[in-house]
Structure formats: C-alpha cells, structure tokens
Subunit: 258 residues, 2 copies
DNA sequence: GAGTGGTCTAGACCACTTG
DNA sequence: AAGTGGTCTAGACCACTCT
C-alpha cells in the first residue's frame, strides 16, 4: 500500500512471517535474493531489515542469514498505544465504559505534561476498558481543549480514541511511558473487580503528534493478572509490547465478589 | 576508541550532549556539517544518527534539524541489565547482600528459559540489592553450570555479575523482559523493608550472549517507590530505561518497621 | 572458498521546514 | 529559495559463518 520501497518489502516479509512461511528460528532470504526479487538496490533491502530488527521480529549476525525471532507477536506502535487496536490484533473484542467525562481546569501535573498555561481547561475522562467483556484496565486521560472537543463527541463505549483522532488529523507519533506498580484503591477495585490493595501495573504516558505537541496525558492501571509488558533489548535495538496473560493459575489472584 | 567510523562520531556527539554542548531541545549539526568535519560520507553520518535515534537521545523530522530529546539520561544496554552499572551511572553506590546461594536441580521453568535438559544443575542465588544502603530490589537468578561456577566464585556483595562475566568472555548481548506487578510476600517484605502485600514491580528476563545462548534467568522485584521503568516509543524506535524515583511523597507508601 | 552481513563511498532526486 | 532529512542507486572492501 505504501509507495516507499523498503516498507513494501518489509510488509511482504511481515505477512510471510505471520503466515507461517518463515517459522520462528528459520532463515530469511539473503539481501542478494531480495534485491533480485524486487529489483531494488542493497541499501533498500538493508533498510527493510533494519525496520524488522527495530520491531523485534528478526535477529541478525554477521556472516549468517537473518533469523526469525521466536516471540512472534503482532508488533506496532499503535498496538502499544491503543488498547482497542491491541485487543483486536489478538482477535479479542475491546469495549469501554465511561465512568466520568468532564471539562475542568488542568491540574499542575496536566499543565506540565500537556504543556499548557495555568488556568487552561482540559477534558478529563475515566474509562473502564474491557477485553471480551472482562475488566482489564482503568484509564484516566486528559486532553487539551481542541482535542478534548473531539474526544467528548465520540462514542466512547465503542470507538478507539486513537483511531478517531488520527482520522481527524491528530495522529499520535510517539509517546513516553513511565511504568510502575501500585495498590488498587477503592474505585480501582470496584471497577476492575478485584480486592482493594491488589497490585496493579501502571503505565503513565504522554502521547505527542509528529511536531512534538502533547495530545494526551493518560494513566492506565492494568490488572496484573491480565496484562503484562514485554521488552526485548540489546545494544542495537529495543522493542516493547503488551502481553495478555493466559490466566493459567487463577488461584494465585484474589478476585472480589460484586 | 572504536575503529568503526559511525560509532566514533556517535561517541563524540553523545559526549557533547552529556557535556551540555547540545542542551535538551537544541539543534544538532546537519549531515553536511558532520560529513565535512569528519571527512566521511553521508551514509556514515546517517548511521551515526540512526544509532542515536535508537538510543532515544534525539528526534528527527524531515526538513528540520535533529533535536536533542528532553529526557536526557544515561542510556545503554548495560544500564538496563545491570543494577550495579545503573546505580553507578547515577552517582549512587550499589551494594548487595547474598541471601541464599546454592547448587540445585533446575526447575521446569529454569530448564525452559535456560534451554537445559531435565536434571541439569544450576546455581541459584537470592540477593538483596541496595542503592546507597537503601533496599531497592530483590533478585532471584539462575545460571547454567559453567556460568554458575564463575558466579559462585565472585564477591557477590560488591562485584557486578554482569561486568565480571563479561570479563570472562560471557558478555550479555541481549535480553527479553516481562514486566508486571505483584504483592510482596513475607520474604520480600522482610528483605525490602516494606509491609506484606505492598505492590512490587517485577522484571523477569532471560539474558543471552551474542550467539543466542541463555546465560542467566533472573526475576527482579523492585520497590515501586524507588524504581520505575521509562519507555519511549514511536513507529521508528523504542527505548527502555530504569528510573529512580525522587521519593517526593513518601506518605503514599506504607513502610514496615523492622 | 563461497556466501552473508557490516561498513563505507559518491553520487541522485524528492518532501518537507524554515527564513 | 535554500537548507535539511528521507529515500534510493551502484558500486567497494572487510569480517564472519558455514561446509
């Protein structure tokens, strides 16, 4: 679809990997092979493989062919930023329940993170996110006024904010996350259907557009028995993904009655 | 230091950034400038900037000069893998207290993660890690026999396992992490000096050498009031770092008496 | 020794940002 | 309009892996 050559080749390879044509651990085509197959130069193929490396799909070693990494997983920027896109990428059904939606003055933290002046108004939203109708995460988000106007007009039970904002010309281009752990408070516990003081995994992030303007400040609190993060890193590359836990040992987590 | 041109230029730029020559938000030299200054071709300079982008130090936009990213932070693979190196990079003093060190048969999980046959022996270590004599993390590590022999011979109260293994020819080249949250159990609580059921941030990882052989399987449990992880990501790049929390609001965490 | 990826050069055209 | 980064080509030599 894209008209950029190295990305077209990368898309083909990702599809082939996803289709099982190159299983985990198997060798990928050499640079020479792909140059001939696509009629492009070596630099272009190297750009292709550099992208797959950044995305954590492959590993490479001088002298040996590139191999497919074993943790095969749909992997894109949007998977990490958008709960809806991530859930759908795993074949699940995402939904949301708006707990609160209001205009109010930005807190000090929101002013700082969203780069707003004092007294600026934001749209603040609290939303329970569900995966296949099971509570997975509570999301608390703040949007600057012009973005907030759009968000407030969406069907937040069903729409993906990320996708709808992108359609309006406000695509997220990058984000910086801080990940830590905290205890479920009373509201968290009630919404997520867990006991008070259950440990939750927290992701706070600022999402920026391509020009570096902050569009959203969000705090996500995940049930640690449902979601974890995976990160692969080396001197050359880091990659990040959300992971759904298989719930193989439900007894180790206390679930509150409702 | 290195004899690879693009890395030499990258080292120079990292030093200049660290020295404050290019403050956060400032513009970096154009590709043309660096080509002239170092007498290399454009491709080499582009490799340099690609590395700095991967490391999360800079951001780039077509048509505009590259800029230094604001979250300046010492950033290297070893910072994320090695507690000792990370603490020292922030000017702190790392130490460790060995709680248990033993040879035993690998558990099923260790066999899988370390790629060992059934019945294989591992060295298993539990160690409390301190930053400036304050408990920060409990580490539980398993090593295959040949690596374990080396580890068992170290001064584990003071040495960096990562650095000593590298000196013996067993350098870690990459790792894959799973991050989630859990409740402090009795042993965790006692060692970390927190109340039982305090939420902890957990990082489980397998560290591999360049050939892809697993050298270590580790589970780290961090005090969430002391350490968090930061991640920056975009379509092009992800980067990961540990962050020390400033402890600005100690009242929000219950600390157990000892 | 043949094949492969890592590094490097010297050009080119285009899209985008900025004065 | 000039400058800058994004993409692409067509070569080259080297270090490493494999058999």
């Amino acid at each position: 679809m894209t008209d950029i050559a190295y990305r077209r080749v990368a898309e083909d390879l990702r599809s082939a990997i996803a289709a099982g044509e190159y299983p985990a651990g198997s060798h990928l085509p050499s640079e020479n092979e792909l140059m001939a197959r696509y009629g492009v130069s070596r630099g272009t193929i190297r750009q292709t493989y550099a992208q797959l490396l950044r995305q954590g799909l492959i590993a490479s070693r001088q002298g040996s062919r590139r191999v497919v990494v074993d943790t095969h997983r749909v992997q894109s920027f949007e998977d990490v930023i958008s709960f809806s896109i991530w859930v759908r990428s795993m074949g699940g059904i995402p939904s949301g329940k708006v707990i609160r939606l209001e205009w109010r003055d930005a807190t000090d933290e929101e002013q700082e993170k969203l780069n707003l002046g004092s007294g600026a108004a934001v749209v603040h939203m609290i939303r329970l996110r569900l995966m296949n109708d099971k509570p997975a995460m509570v999301e608390r988000s703040a949007y600057p006024a012009d973005i907030g106007r759009i968000v407030a007009g969406l069907d937040l039970e069903r729409d993906s904010v990320t996708e709808r904002l992108a359609a309006e010309g406000h695509a997220f281009a990058r984000a910086s996350h801080t990940i830590d752990a905290l205890s479920a408070g009373r509201e968290d516990a009630r919404l997520l259907d867990v006991a008070v003081r259950t440990p939750l995994l927290r992701d706070r992030r600022v999402s920026l557009n391509a020009a570096g303007r902050p569009l959203e400040y969000t705090e996500d609190r995940y049930r640690a028995d449902v979601v974890s993060f995976t990160i692969g890193n080396s001197e050359q590359v880091n990659h990040l993904a959300r992971r759904s836990k298989p719930l193989r040992d439900p007894s180790s987590y206390r679930i509150a009655g409702t």
